[in-house]
């Protein structure tokens, strides 16, 4: 199935990576969610060796999630961490239906090292076994817990940045809305990497990209698993699909990025425009020819390096002491 719409092509270096991967990316339908989870490989695993090279230690805790149920949390900090550092509260990607709390952490290790930051990543429960509001409420419960236990974790509760890629970016935007509306911890920033924000499946970029890594059919499976019959209807909460929020005032400063050649492009750009309109500071980067998750799958390419450098710069401006 090929889209008949014209669309920006993939970056030449990135298209070569796609050529090697070919059609080997795991198939995803409502029936294959389980095998998709098993096949989806973390392209940059968080190994002991990698932690050692960065001088970062790892702790795993069980903390209360939504409705008080146990939930795992990984805490990463410099081995010589002292006092209260800035915090990165990380929510992993995986389309709301896959992934684990270690996915996407490897590229963030330099932030821990350079800013003596504490990174916390949470094992929120996945759809369809745990549909909305479990994922976003688990993430919010984790945020409340780290704010309440800041001293024990060695982090400054006034300097928490929420961060996530893909579904994790959508969840980060969702808990930023929750924190504002429920008077939760004041956040220092929201880092939304190629975020999954909109269940409505109507943007131009959604129609353009039925090819690449995360394609329209996959996206429908993810949202359907999360929202069931409510997907695309007027009953979806903005905490689950932040693109639906009409009032974006009073939110923390945002960093948003995406590829020009991915289906989340238009919802990422739209969310940035909404934040600006509401007077919220936002930095937006749309990387030419990037497919979804290009920086994680092909970090050596020129466009990935530019994306990573831009992100590092924003993090430095928001975390540095």
């Amino acid at each position: 199935m090929t889209s008949s719409r014209p669309r920006p092509p993939f970056d030449p270096e990135l298209s070569a990576v796609l050529a090697v991967l070919g059609d080997q990316l795991p198939d995803l339908t409502p029936e294959t969610i389980r095998s998709f989870r098993a096949q989806a490989v973390n392209p940059m695993p968080l190994t002991e060796q990698l932690l050692g090279e960065h001088g970062v230690t790892r702790r795993d805790l069980a903390v209360p999630g939504f409705l008080g149920d146990d939930m795992l949390m990984t805490v990463l900090a410099r081995a010589d961490h002292i006092g209260s550092g800035p915090a990165i509260y990380h929510l992993h990607g995986g389309g709301m239906i896959a992934g684990d709390r270690l996915l996407g952490l490897a590229p963030m290790l330099p932030w821990i090292v350079e800013h003596d930051a504490v990174l916390v990543s949470v094992e929120y429960r996945l759809a369809p076994e745990f549909p909305d509001p479990y994922p976003v409420e688990d993430c919010y419960a984790g945020l409340l817990w780290i704010a309440a236990n800041a001293r024990q974790l060695g982090l400054d509760p006034d300097r928490i940045v929420v961060a996530g890629a893909s579904a994790g970016g959508g969840l980060a935007a969702g808990i930023a809305l929750l924190a504002r509306d429920r008077g939760g911890p004041p956040l220092a920033g929201q880092l939304l990497l190629c975020p999954m924000l909109d269940d409505r499946d109507q943007s131009v970029s959604t129609e353009q990209y039925d090819t690449g890594t995360w394609v329209r059919a996959h996206n429908r499976v993810g949202w359907q698993a999360l929202l069931g019959e409510r997907r695309g209807t007027g009953t979806v909460s903005p905490y689950a699909a932040p693109a639906r929020e009409t009032d974006l005032t009073g939110l923390p400063p945002a960093f948003i990025d995406c590829g020009s050649a991915e289906l989340f492009r238009d919802e990422a750009v739209g969310y940035a425009s909404g934040l600006w309109a509401a007077g919220v500071q936002c930095e937006l980067h749309v990387w030419a020819g990037g497919f979804h998750g290009f920086d994680l799958l092909a970090p050596h390419t020129a466009v990935s390096q530019a994306a990573i450098a831009a992100r590092d710069s924003w993090v430095t401006r928001h975390l540095a002491t």
Binding site: P12, G22, A298
Partner: protein
């Protein structure tokens, strides 16, 4: 930094690493990237620094894709020298399994960059179906070839050069291939060549298409294949899209080696008795295998039409499965 090749292999453990290296560089060349991107690819694939020296300028990149500034304490191993350039990996100690392959493909790709610089693209225009007839005639004139002259095109792997004849590199549905124009029939053909049909020079794209198919059908045992020997099967092969394999091809691809051996005996032997003798199997077991294969394939391979379907599917399967670059 984990080697990109390792990560790609984790995502797709079935295709060989050598094939991934070839596919990756082919795609980069087809996309028209420059030297830096080629070096980033070599460094990322191998997990070590990759470098090149072109007209006295050295460029080096590390596996994370960053340019290396210092040159202190570098060892160039393995290394390849071309007419205008040298390329290398900086592997300390024992080479890894794919280092030689990575450097070889890097060297070819860098050489192509150089070749492109000095080339007027006439042969590319001659071979491209999309070139209007007038432009093709003009391109032939620049190559000093009469449009009515009889020619054929030879397809070889990039590394198999044919001396003394006009040659270029073309992106095909089967990856990058070298095209060489044969005007005499006396052109010495190296290893693994596909020969196109003889045709008028201004219809060269037809010859090239046949040559590409023929090249795909070469093997170590059968290194040179002439597309004219395929007869009517050439038409079938040309109209086939390996990206969308026919169900007969998919069914055949799913059989294991033993089942394929049994199937071949069933197709080739006059009688079931002869097939059971050839395979050393009892008559009743071969009958059972015959029934099972008929179910799996969706046709009986011992009927005249079934044989035909098998032969066609076997040919198309060879066009579908990528060639192992180490073969």
């Amino acid at each position: 930094m984990q080697e990109l090749l390792g990560r790609l292999t984790a995502l797709d453990p079935e295709a060989s690493e050598a094939l991934k290296v070839v596919t990756y560089f082919d795609a980069l060349v087809a996309a028209g990237v420059g030297l830096d991107a080629l070096l980033r690819a070599a460094a990322a694939l191998s997990g070590t620094v990759a470098g090149a020296e072109r007209r006295g300028r050295v460029s080096r990149f590390d596996p994370s894709g960053k340019r290396c500034e210092t040159t202190a304490g570098t060892c160039r191993s393995p290394e390849r020298s071309g007419a205008h350039s040298r390329v290398w990996l900086e592997r300390d100690g024992t080479l890894h399994a794919n280092d030689e392959m990575v450097v070889e493909r890097l060297a070819l790709a860098v050489e192509l960059l150089e070749a492109k610089r000095g080339r007027d693209g006439s042969l590319d225009l001659v071979l491209d179906h999309a070139t209007p007839h007038g432009e093709r005639t003009a391109a032939l004139a620049r190559l000093r070839i009469n449009p009515g002259a009889q020619i054929r095109v030879i397809a070889t792997r990039l590394e198999d050069r044919i001396e003394g004849a006009a040659s270029t590199v073309v992106a095909t549905r089967y990856g990058m291939l070298r095209a060489t124009l044969d005007l005499t029939g006396q052109t010495p053909v190296g290893a693994r060549a596909g020969l196109g049909t003889w045709t008028r020079a201004d219809r060269a794209p037809e010859s090239w298409e046949g040559a590409v198919v023929a090249q795909r059908l070469t093997s170590r045992a059968d290194p040179v294949v002439d597309s004219t020997t395929l007869g009517a099967m050439l038409g079938l092969a040309l109209s086939y899209d390996p990206e969308a394999p026919h169900p007969d091809v998919t069914a055949l691809a799913q059989l294991d080696d033993r089942a394929r051996e049994v199937l071949l005996a069933l197709v080739e032997c006059e009688s079931m008795r002869a097939a059971s003798t050839r395979l050393g199997m009892h008559h009743s077991s071969i009958q059972a295998r015959h029934d099972a294969l008929t179910r799996e394939l969706g046709y009986d391979p011992r009927t005249p039409i079934g044989r035909m379907r098998y032969v066609a599917a076997a040919l198309l399967l060879r066009l579908t499965v990528p060639l192992d670059p180490t073969d």
